[in-house]
Symmetry: C2
Subunit: 369 residues, 2 copies
């Protein structure tokens, strides 16, 4: 994997770049739609490509349990299994064990846990996380880290960054034994403690990864705290490497985090909210259930060029949603993914043209109308 | 609407034809995918077109309740509302009132019923059925008829065909006051009584409709009885008009009914079974949940040219289905609709080439392997 910075904003830390992977190039800043179980819920790869997706995210925990590595191995990885030929990033599985699995127990060795599906017992070590992700043939793999809840005691957060650093070292070692065609990113933790974020960033950066992520954000903390943590952590990571903020966020979050120098994002918000009838527009989000759309012949967003807005009215989208028709989830998801990916494209253009400041002003102005 | 017969089988009553409608031509024999609520569940119009759909069916009862005529009117009909530019046939609503609505009551005037959704009370008369379908702008509208359960007493069936005939007369009268750009088909009832089917066919044919349907089949009766009723009824309807068997059936049913001279079909089987994981293939149907498909890298049907079989393995389809992913329903539905529509296309070719006899032999032989 290679990363080249192609433009820098003069007024903020925003930048554009290109990540080269075995499955093609990615222009950054980039948003990665979440494809938990080898599918971005309700969409085909063609839908994703039409929305402008460059890379998607898969969840190691989920894929390890279903369909299992022995199945995906037969396809030489996730790409062929799900018919997606562009890059894929996978998380390490740690966050899902933390949030989903039953009776998870953490030791120096790794996580032992029970599947949330059938209660079967499993062990996820740093080495195993690399092994599974290598089997998935992810273009970008993530180190196993220890996630903590918010709020957390400093003592707990401190122990977590220490374990995360030791695990990162073990992941790196395991990765060094592979072909290294799949890149491996280190993850910074540290809760909402500035000092711990600094220590964690330093210890992870020392291990020299192709890219870095900031984990443990958007876990319930106030927005300004999330931005503050990102702000102090991002500059401590190697400038020349791509920087990924995990699990964040709203359109506003993306704009702010790009300003702070972040390059990569993922979040379930566009897909999950679509399935709840919430559509993102340049003027803020709307709920398609609203009675005002009952007989509305125009599209959900007149300024949107997505397949859904080009072809269907708000009245039709509302009807599909109110009757719980399967097509509702797909059309709404296409719209929201297109919104997020177009936002990132516009951000990239603005940074390249050094008009990012004006872009931000316009972005916020539209949302106030 | 016009109907022209283009070829006739020498060994059976099978024939091919072309129905011309305001929204384009339909080659018969034709299968119409069911789009109950202005959507063929999980598919876009583009998916349908790629599967080879020429015409789809909408359900008047459902569309009348949701989103309601006052909404669809704003789009000048169903086509623009759902973005489907090819022909649409709608049923009259009678069958759904019979099977779904609460407290339905039948009088000479029509059906009074309570919505299965919110319990609101409504009245559906023959005139109202024509009015609603005119508002939906269906290319082919159906007369309001009285459906009866199976088994039924002869007395009840007799009263039903008499009422059905009087209602057909009222529908025709109401239709005569319209532009008649939307065609209106009469419906034959009569339960499983040969004599009543004959009487009903005669009384409906006398009213001189652009096309005719046989209703009240596939309601729980044995298959041979269904075929027997179709066999005695079809020849009693005007040869030069299209003949539609409502709500039928399996691939075998379609082949047999075409042999008897039927031209049009609709059934929820391909779409509903898809959502239950059952896929139709030339060798019979398979259940994608089966453990044998767990790591199967080949498509569900190696002989199938549908989008699903061209791009996805059985293992992936099984994985999507087992994890209840939304994409499962769509990929399975595409496959099944493609199967049904390709079967009809092959039937049309066979009739045109006068090889229908061989086609049938081959069709059944493959299913025994």
């Amino acid at each position: 994997m290679q990363f080249n910075i192609t433009a820098k904003s003069k007024t903020t830390s925003a930048r554009t770049g290109i990540i080269e992977t075995c499955h093609g190039r990615i222009e950054t800043p980039v948003f990665m739609p979440v494809g938990t179980l080898a599918t971005v819920k309700s969409l085909t790869p063609e839908d994703l490509a039409e929305c402008g997706a460059q890379i998607i995210l898969g969840n190691t925990y989920h894929l390890y349990l279903r369909p299992g590595c022995e199945v995906i191995e037969k396809f030489s990885g996730l790409h062929k299994f799900m018919n997606w030929n562009q890059p894929i990033l996978t998380d390490s599985g740690g966050f899902q064990i933390f949030s989903l699995a039953r009776l998870s127990n953490i030791t120096e060795q790794g996580y032992s846990f029970q599947s949330h599906i059938d209660g079967s017992t499993h062990m996820l070590t740093p080495e195993k996380a690399v092994e599974i992700q290598t089997c998935l043939n992810s273009d970008i793999m993530m180190c196993l880290d220890q996630c903590i809840a918010y709020p957390a005691e400093k003592d707990e957060a401190e122990k977590a960054i220490e374990l995360t650093a030791r695990w990162a070292g073990r992941c790196k070692q395991a990765w060094m034994k592979t072909t290294r065609e799949n890149a491996l990113f280190g993850i910074v933790q540290g809760g909402m403690f500035k000092k711990l974020r600094e220590i964690s960033a330093e210890s992870i950066a020392e291990l020299d990864f192709p890219g870095y992520a900031i984990g443990g954000l958007s876990v319930g903390e106030p927005k300004n705290l999330m931005l503050e943590m990102a702000d102090i952590t991002l500059p401590l990571l190697p400038y020349e490497a791509p920087k990924y903020i995990m699990g964040v966020g709203t359109p506003e979050d993306l704009v702010e985090l790009v300003s702070l120098g972040a390059d990569m994002f993922d979040c379930v918000m566009p897909t999950r909210n679509a399935r709840n009838g919430q559509l993102f527009t340049s003027h803020g989000s709307i709920n398609i259930c609203n009675a005002r759309y009952r007989a509305e012949t125009g599209p959900a967003d007149p300024n949107c060029g997505c397949y859904t807005c080009r072809n269907y009215s708000s009245a039709y989208l509302r009807h599909l949603y109110m009757t719980r028709e399967l097509l509702a989830y797909r059309l709404n998801t296409i719209h929201n993914i297109h919104y997020y990916l177009t936002l990132m494209k516009d951000i990239r253009s603005a940074v390249k043209n050094d008009t990012f400041h004006e872009f931000k002003k316009d972005f916020y102005q539209k949302r106030q109308n």
